[in-house]
């Protein structure tokens, strides 16, 4: 059985934080094309603040909770509630487990997707982060059912997430600040879809490095 120890997992969250921070300007640029250009700042600020409160001694669940709470309560914007919900769901679905398996990661992603849909009211095709998250969850589910390795499941999930992210390019935004530009929102990636994919990429790098098998 493949798993990583919850107690060893804060690195996964810390890596996500670092990745978001180093993509600050890139995310701002993408948001600037059809949004208001602040996605990089918003993400960087929230993730940095949380980063200061998370260290190696924390578990994955604790780290996710801290990040979720900071985003939810102290960041505002759209990103606060959306990614706040996402990481709080990561916490909620893992907190009772010492060992995090692919099944648990799947549950946590499914729950996060539900939470984000609920609070934001968006769905696949609206040109949002959901266009990354939803296919990533589906692929993770399929991979888990067909008993792929944890690493392969993550890879397949990421691949689907990347395709989902890229699919936003041809979409017309229907939600958020960049919505209702009609045709003018077509041709550019969605900023939230990109940041969500960065999170998936980071997890797909970090988790395999701490996997155990017994």
């Amino acid at each position: 059985m493949e798993y990583f120890l919850n107690s060893e997992g804060s690195v996964v969250v810390r890596d996500i934080i670092n990745e978001i921070r180093s993509n600050r300007d890139y995310l701002g640029e993408i948001d600037g094309a059809i949004g208001d250009g602040d996605h990089g700042i918003n993400m960087n600020k929230g993730f940095s603040m949380a980063g200061e409160r998370i260290n190696q001694s924390h578990s994955f669940s604790e780290a996710a909770k801290t990040l979720g709470n900071v985003l939810m309560m102290e960041i505002g914007g759209s990103m606060g509630p959306l990614y706040g919900t996402l990481f709080k769901r990561f916490f909620r679905e893992t907190k009772d487990h010492d060992r995090i398996t692919a099944e648990i990661v799947l549950k946590m992603l499914e729950s996060a997707l539900d939470g984000v849909k609920e609070i934001g009211g968006a769905d696949v095709g609206d040109k949002t982060m959901i266009d990354t998250l939803a296919p990533a969850v589906s692929a993770m589910r399929a991979a888990t059912i067909s008993h792929c390795s944890f690493r392969d499941a993550l890879m397949k999930s990421l691949e689907a997430g990347r395709e989902g992210r890229d699919s936003t390019k041809d979409m017309v935004a229907r939600i958020g600040r960049s919505a209702r530009l009609g045709e003018r929102s077509r041709g550019v990636l969605d900023a939230g879809a990109v940041s969500c994919c960065i999170i998936m990429e980071s997890m797909t790098e970090s988790i395999p490095a701490i996997l155990r098998n017994d």
Binding site: G77, G80, G120
Partner: protein
């Protein structure tokens, strides 16, 4: 970027501090540094009025805190919705027991954060209802009016809601008046130059010299059309051509007109623009009951103008004419 700032990350906090120092006769701080309230809030026996939104729109939002106006405001980062906690704290600061009307603009961040705050406040036993301003005509077709953004029309919604609450109405009646105000309000903006969020450091969109963006949003969201820069008179015509048929406004209507600069446009030019608006309305047999011209709702240092019209009946006229003492709107 030629601007008067320190560390961009502290801009909002320092602005709030300076604002509170200057306007201590009207505005008071609260336990949450991102929430300001009217010095006398909560006003006993009065429905509380709350709003909030991203910063960079001065005098909106905090400039409308005051007597018979807004009781508490949640302050966000530049162009970014305040936190759920701040909306919640603003609701707490405004509530006198008669319930709170959250009157805010239709942006997904604000929708989500208000939703969270409402849920929390209701857990505390506070009755909270809200009206979501969606006056920005170019931001969605009439068939999807619930998707339209809220822009400068929010000011008229606050004025009406604030007056109604000040007159002693209950929460449902305040909500009904504010909803009626925004339902009768239509806006449009024209952008002539971009703006720069200090933390970003460069404009996040471009407007070519000689061009203008018709229907631009309050954060520089692209409009419905990029057109050749034209005269003030033609701009006024284009704006009216878009918003008049939408409500629709018709001959015989009395309207309130609000012309706001987007930040960098010389105020003299707003009057040049309004002159033509007034002429056209007159030629269509509409009467301007009251007009507001100035920098009422800006977008940092964007060049441009927004036009807002509200169709008014006798109730709305009374509420608009009611006194108000806020930093940005004073009527006696």
């Amino acid at each position: 970027m030629q601007r008067i700032i320190n560390d961009p990350d502290h801009l909002v906090d320092e602005m709030v501090e300076g604002f509170t120092l200057t306007h201590h006769d009207i505005v008071a701080p609260t336990g949450n540094p991102r929430v300001l309230k009217y010095i006398n809030a909560p006003v006993a026996g009065k429905v509380g009025i709350v709003t909030g939104g991203g910063s960079g729109h001065k005098p909106a939002f905090i400039g409308y805190i005051g007597e018979d106006m807004i009781d508490a405001v949640a302050v966000g980062e530049i162009f970014s919705s305040p936190t759920g906690r701040s909306f919640y704290d603003a609701i707490k600061a405004a509530d006198s027991g008669k319930g709170v009307a959250v009157l805010y603009g239709n942006y997904s961040g604000d929708n989500m954060n208000v939703k969270m705050a409402k849920a929390e406040a209701e857990d505390d036993g506070i009755t909270v209802k809200s009206v979501v301003a969606n006056d920005d005509v170019p931001s969605a077709p009439a068939s999807e009016r619930d998707k339209r953004r809220g822009v400068a029309g929010e000011i008229l919604m606050w004025k009406v809601g604030g007056a109604k609450a000040a007159m002693g109405a209950n929460l449902d009646d305040v909500i009904a008046a504010a909803q009626k105000a925004i339902d009768n309000t239509r806006s449009i903006g024209i952008g002539l130059s971009p703006c720069t969020i200090p933390a970003v450091g460069k404009p996040n969109f471009e407007i070519e010299p000689g061009k203008m963006e018709l229907g631009i949003g309050h954060h520089g969201e692209p409009g419905i059309r990029v057109a050749d820069l034209t005269t003030a008179d033609e701009m006024a015509e284009m704006c009216l051509d878009t918003i008049l048929p939408d409500l629709p406004f018709a001959a015989g209507d009395d309207v309130v007109a609000l012309v706001s600069g987007l930040g960098a446009t010389p105020v003299s030019e707003l009057y040049v623009f309004y002159r033509k608006v007034n002429q056209i309305l007159g030629s269509k047999n509409m009467t301007v009951f009251k007009s507001y011209v100035g920098n009422y709702f800006t977008s940092l240092e964007m060049m441009g103008v927004t036009l807002t019209l509200m169709k008014v009946d006798s109730e709305l006229k009374t509420l608009i004419d009611h006194k108000a003492n806020s930093v940005a709107l004073k009527q006696f």
